[in-house]
Symmetry: C2
Subunit: 413 residues, 2 copies
């Protein structure tokens, strides 16, 4: 992260991370985001019916405070999921300790966990690390970087995105307008068990911070809009996690108040979320190809998404990509079982600009060598036109490689 | 196949296979089943909306004949799918040539294809091979074995199953009953792209033959019943093929007439189909573990199936099995996103007889070493009790291994 990033860290927040001893690797594994004053908050959680203990407590806390958060307490190395009452107790104990450290209510603490499922979280390790962590937090880019590192699990790189916009707000004591800078900074982790189905949708953990002043309900609407174009449009392995969380906090420290329907803010937020979503896919477990699916001409947007997901979840399609095999028949099969309304004889497939399939059969101009060369690229685009209507979607996914198997089949206990 | 199998080959059929030059390996790739007289027929085809040309023609032919088949013409090495009008023309030309060879109507020919999608079928190769094939057919077990070999693609073993029952039928001119032997013989292929969703559901190709005399509509009801307990309860990779076909033929050559609701026949048919379904899973591409899922206590049978399928399609669960990793948290996650009605705190998981998870958390008696040892076995059973109702299902699936990736990612053109 260059020094320039200092100018895009939203005002009103501090960050930090320490080693609490949860990661076997011995890396930092416990991080905090601390708002100077209670920040407006909007969150989205996994659609999985098995939800980790911190998500249950997060939802309860947001209801209790009407959408206000002072402290986000994030651990990696343990998902605190399927751990029964001890898991709930561990999350509550962490919130209580953090609330004492920062002189706020326990309900103003937002716990997050990622890592192995089914092993009780050792809250005592987090609590013991809190004093050191509280001393180390700060508002600089290197503090933000510490946060970005500590929340990683099988990820290989940190994932951050930034935006800065200027918004016009009415002058308080006059007829004019004043221009104010609003910053957005976002950080996330996620590499495997990636098929977020967020409700309104992520073990993807995403934290988005802004220094705009936005009411929680308005903030929620912005968040849902951005998620639908980003995190709900990616899949690495089709496994929807029990811990997926997206949290958007607005500190108000810029002094710029933003109401509903502010296009510049919505666009900047969507841009930041899409950047993170693509970074997650690019860092997917064992990924050697990132694939952009552009589905067009579907009977509805929902149908377009069905087609994209069927392709993104097909082991046969994903292994063909891993082998740079332009086997488009596997794409046709996935389109066919997607559940979307289709006419098999009205399907066109292109790899980038290369015609592959026209009217459901091999394109006259099909060039296997060119198709093979095209999908040897680390990132490529596949367009499928169904000719059924005007439904469409763009979706990002990955291949399925030997390395994915190695990462997930290695039994090391 | 031992000589004993001669006693279980249904009377009224002949079989054979030749090398038509479709398989790159140079093995036999074109097989026939020929009924001495038109056999009663019932069939089920893939639920994929992209259907191969032979399936479209099969459905048309069965309608035209009211469910009668003289010749089944099966090629491996080319799926004749997504090949447009040339694909349809190729299938029709094959039917016409077979009809001429065996002096029947083209509508009494049932074509089947399996292999690569998107490449036009070279019907001329099949037609050129017909005379030699017609000469070689016979009714012995070695002829049946030739059929079983010729239809294979990525399969590593032939898959056959046999049953023999005695049925009582009223004496025609008297008050007594006579006991008559009815034979069932079945053969199939299938290894990858296996998640049959047959409608009333399979590139699984299954041919079941009996010498009972059964009307086509009654035969259809028997077939649907057997499929729901067998082929619709397996998945290797979750990819539903464009070519899946199950065909049940009844020659009547035993002289035993079977009407609807004959339990012995239904049970024998289900037993044969379940045997084949399990053989397909055991020969799944790259499989190192076959897993039986026993879902109990679901709100409905449909919910039980949702849970089984979510688990069977989870790359994270399947890679854990490949690594003999007893990571039950991945099972919990899959149960959670299955869409089934669940209470996360009322889920019990057992590996065989070993308690793994109780009430949604790690079982008190959980023994990781024992769990690890248990799933090192090539075949094992996982039971999940949801405590929501009386819905249940048994489902067979596989792990996801390096070998699956090798088989499907190798680009050899």
């Amino acid at each position: 992260m260059s020094d320039l990033s200092q100018f895009v860290i939203p005002r009103g927040f501090r960050f930090g991370a320490v080693k609490a001893g949860l990661k076997q690797s011995g890396r930092t594994d416990f991080a905090l985001i601390v708002a100077d004053t209670p920040a407006s908050a909007a969150a989205a959680f996994t659609g999985n019916r098995v939800k980790a203990a911190p998500l249950l407590i997060d939802a309860e806390h947001l209801r209790a405070t009407g959408g206000k958060v002072r402290v986000v307490a994030i651990n990696a190395g343990n998902a605190n999921c399927a751990a029964g009452q001890p898991g709930i107790d561990a999350a509550r104990a962490t919130c209580k300790a953090a609330a004492e450290t920062f002189a706020c209510k326990p309900e103003e603490v937002f716990p997050s966990s990622t890592g192995v499922i089914g092993v009780p979280l050792p809250a005592e390790k987090l609590i013991a690390a809190l004093p050191e962590l509280a001393k180390s937090i700060g508002s600089q880019s290197d503090h933000f970087q510490q946060l970005a590192e500590a929340i990683l699990t099988t990820d290989t790189v940190e994932k951050t995105a930034f935006a800065r916009i200027e918004v016009s707000t009415p002058e308080i004591d006059g007829p004019g307008e004043i221009r104010q800078e609003v910053r957005i900074a976002a950080v996330c982790k996620g590499s495997g068990m990636i098929h977020p189905q967020l409700v309104p949708h992520a073990t993807m953990l995403v934290y988005i911070l802004t220094d705009a002043a936005i009411e929680p309900t308005v903030l929620g609407a912005y968040l849902r809009g951005a998620i639908d174009l980003s995190f709900n449009r990616i899949s690495v392995d089709g496994d929807t996690s029990t811990n997926d969380t997206v949290l958007l906090l607005a500190s108000g420290a810029s002094g710029a108040a933003i109401g509903s329907g502010k296009t510049e803010f919505a666009m900047a937020l969507a841009q930041v979320c899409t950047s993170l979503a693509r970074q997650i896919v690019a860092d997917g477990e064992g990924v050697s190809h990132v694939v952009e699916l552009r589905i067009k001409g579907a009977a509805s947007d929902a149908d377009a998404l069905r087609v994209a997901k069927a392709i993104a979840h097909s082991p046969l399609v994903k292994t063909a990509w891993a082998g740079c095999d332009p086997n488009w028949g596997r794409l046709m099969a996935a389109v066919g079982y997607s559940g979307a309304l289709i006419d098999p004889e009205a399907i066109d497939i292109s790899f980038g600009e290369l015609p592959i399939c026209r009217n459901g059969g091999r394109a006259a101009a099909y060039d296997e060598n060119a198709a093979h060369a095209y999908i040897q690229q680390p990132e490529f685009s596949i367009a499928i036109h169904l000719h059924q209507g005007s439904g469409s979607c763009t979706f990002w996914t990955t291949d399925l490689t030997h390395e994915y198997i190695r990462i997930n089949a290695d039994y090391t206990t």
